[in-house]
């Protein structure tokens, strides 16, 4: 090996004492290298293999019942007539409202905490609490939503409505968006801010023209991750009382609703195998919606990076 020959040549030209001080042991170090690499490959393979198996399983049982009528029919007691239309519409409504609510509030809070609040006990107190909130189980948010939006504010939110569901999920993902926003802002080099201030800009001008655009791709990634979590949430929506059997399309944010994961859960918990296949079809639909959402975000992000 070339490395060894170089080391040998140097060792020969040096004193014998120096040779004893350094024992390069290259063979051993490369072996460790190879073992570590193999371990990481194994870890990746396990993760990918499990995911692939899952997808394969879902596809096999779901593709059969996945047709046009599945997408355009309402739920039914007869599996051959049951469809996912109302759940798909409900998910669309809820996710739209969650995005509308959570983006400005989450990014705004992140901006305040990172750019304006300074480093005092109050900011640190809020930071610790937000990190804790990000780890609270989602069913707790469901109970909060039930109390706050269904019972206390029910007159305004329409009780067990799309609006209530969206507000509950917004609470659930706000901590994630705030943390992601702060991370993205922290990654903006200070030299850009200083350049802005040195030209006689105030905080708002520096943030709007430089800090926020530079951090925006990172913020967008965080928002999309958060929305991806929200789209799969079942527990908090069941807690606030989202219905499973919705044989109509919601016409406004105050209507009752169901979403894809609740519908899937409902089908899975029935004894007939036909409904299990319907659940698999529902999972495929959910995954496709998720992929469409993510690719839209990636598209936005690359547009934004090119513009700079």
């Amino acid at each position: 090996m070339t490395f060894e020959s170089i080391t040998d040549a140097q060792a020969e030209s040096n004193l014998v004492a120096a040779e004893a001080k350094f024992q390069p042991n290259l063979a051993g170090r490369y072996r460790l290298d190879a073992i570590f690499k193999a371990a990481t490959i194994a870890a990746t393979t396990i993760a990918i293999a499990v995911l692939a198996w899952l997808m394969f399983d879902v596809l096999i049982s779901g593709v059969g019942s996945l047709d046009r009528s599945f997408l355009t029919s309402f739920p039914s007691r007869r599996p051959e007539q049951a469809g996912i239309l109302s759940a798909l519409a409900g998910t669309g409504w809820v996710m739209f409202l969650v995005a509308v609510f959570s983006f400005p509030i989450g990014v705004g809070s992140g901006l305040f905490l990172e750019e304006f609040s300074g480093d005092n006990w109050f900011a640190r107190f809020i930071e610790i609490n937000i990190s804790n909130l990000a780890g609270v189980p989602s069913i707790i948010y469901g109970l909060l939503g039930l109390t706050a939006f269904v019972i206390i504010l029910g007159d305004w939110t329409g009780g067990r409505s799309i609006l209530t569901g969206a507000l509950t999920l917004t609470l659930l993902i706000l901590p994630i968006i705030i943390v992601a926003t702060r991370e993205a802002l922290r990654a903006v080099p200070d030299s850009i801010r200083q350049a802005g201030y040195a030209l006689g800009a105030n905080s708002w001008q520096v943030i709007w023209s430089h800090t926020l655009p530079t951090a925006f791709p990172g913020i967008l990634t965080g928002v999309i991750l958060a929305l991806s979590r929200a789209i799969g949430e079942t527990a908090p929506l069941i807690t606030i009382g989202a219905l499973t059997f919705i044989p109509f399309l919601p016409e406004g944010p105050l209507d009752p609703f169901t979403v894809l994961p609740i519908q899937i859960y409902n089908w899975v918990s029935r004894p007939q195998k036909d409904f299990h296949d319907l659940a698999a079809s529902g999972i495929i639909v959910l995954l496709v919606v998720l992929l469409v959402m993510n690719s839209f975000a990636i598209f936005l992000r690359s547009r934004f990076q090119k513009a700079r």
Binding site: I192, A195, G200, A201
Partner: protein
């Protein structure tokens, strides 16, 4: 110890500093600085690391305000105006306006991640520039001796330029808002000798219009470009920290030829630091 060995005529000073102390938290970083920066000249700050020369420079446009723990005592006058007023006047004083009149170029070139054109135009726009923007961009880029290199790619990102070009872009950005003073914090520290030479030639032209204060670790650079040189040093404190102070401030020929202080002589002859 001599704080300021010159006998300045106050009327010709763009910036005058009296008994300046700067603290970071409870640590005194620089103490007892007295000096005058003459108009349309280049003043160089030299000295070993940690002697506070950058700290003093950053007081001039109140960039130290961005560091929460920094605190300034003493008086700095810019064209006769106290820029660290106390009491009632402090509420009416606006560092944002001051920073338009005192521009800054940083150690590491830091163009905005935007087009070359926008790099120049942004500062003018936020300061309410009402003239012809295209003309201003061209004039500023010409002023920073970079127009010929970038005139065909004004829409390209400023980050696509080489380090030396980026630094001249930053100088163009600074002069676009027509400041009276330009502060340069080791502007050539990240550049190769050829880019450094270009910046030095540029400084000689710029001083016809602007007053320049430059912090540099390069003593040859100080002796080549500056009219006045301030030598700072750091001394150990009882608490185990370091505090910077101004050793000597005089015409550059005197500092490099016949300094009054022994420390200065040792430093400029390369015997320490």
């Amino acid at each position: 110890m001599l704080q300021d060995t010159s006998s300045p005529a106050v009327s010709s000073a763009a910036i005058s500093v009296e008994k300046l102390n700067v603290y970071y938290g409870s640590n005194l970083a620089v103490r007892d600085v007295y000096l005058d920066i003459p108009r349309n000249q280049i003043a160089a700050f030299i000295g070993p690391s940690g002697c506070g020369k950058s700290t003093v420079l950053r007081c001039f446009n109140r960039m130290n305000d961005l560091i929460a723990s920094a605190r300034v005592e003493g008086t700095i006058r810019f064209e006769g105006m106290d820029i660290y007023p106390t009491g009632e006047a402090a509420k009416n004083f606006d560092p944002v306006e001051l920073r338009r009149r005192i521009g800054m170029v940083f150690q590491k070139p830091n163009p905005f991640p935007k087009s070359i054109y926008e790099n120049i135009a942004w500062g003018a726009r936020i300061n309410g520039y009402r003239g012809d923007m295209d003309e201003l961009v061209e004039r500023s880029l010409r002023g920073a001796a970079i127009w010929d290199e970038v005139k065909d790619k004004l829409k390209e990102s400023g980050l696509a330029l080489s380090g030396g070009q980026q630094q001249r872009l930053c100088i163009a950005r600074a002069i676009a808002i027509e400041p009276e003073v330009i502060l340069m914090d080791e502007p050539c520290a990240a550049l190769d000798p050829i880019s450094t030479l270009k910046i030095e030639e540029l400084m000689a032209q710029l001083k016809e219009k602007f007053t320049i204060v430059i912090v540099t670790h390069n003593m040859q650079q100080a002796s080549r470009v500056s009219d006045r040189t301030a030598f700072y040093n750091a001394e150990a404190t009882d608490a185990g920290g370091k505090v910077g102070y101004l050793v000597e401030y005089d015409d550059t020929e005197v500092i490099f030829g016949n300094p009054k202080e022994e420390y200065t002589r040792d430093y400029v002859s390369g015997r320490f630091g």
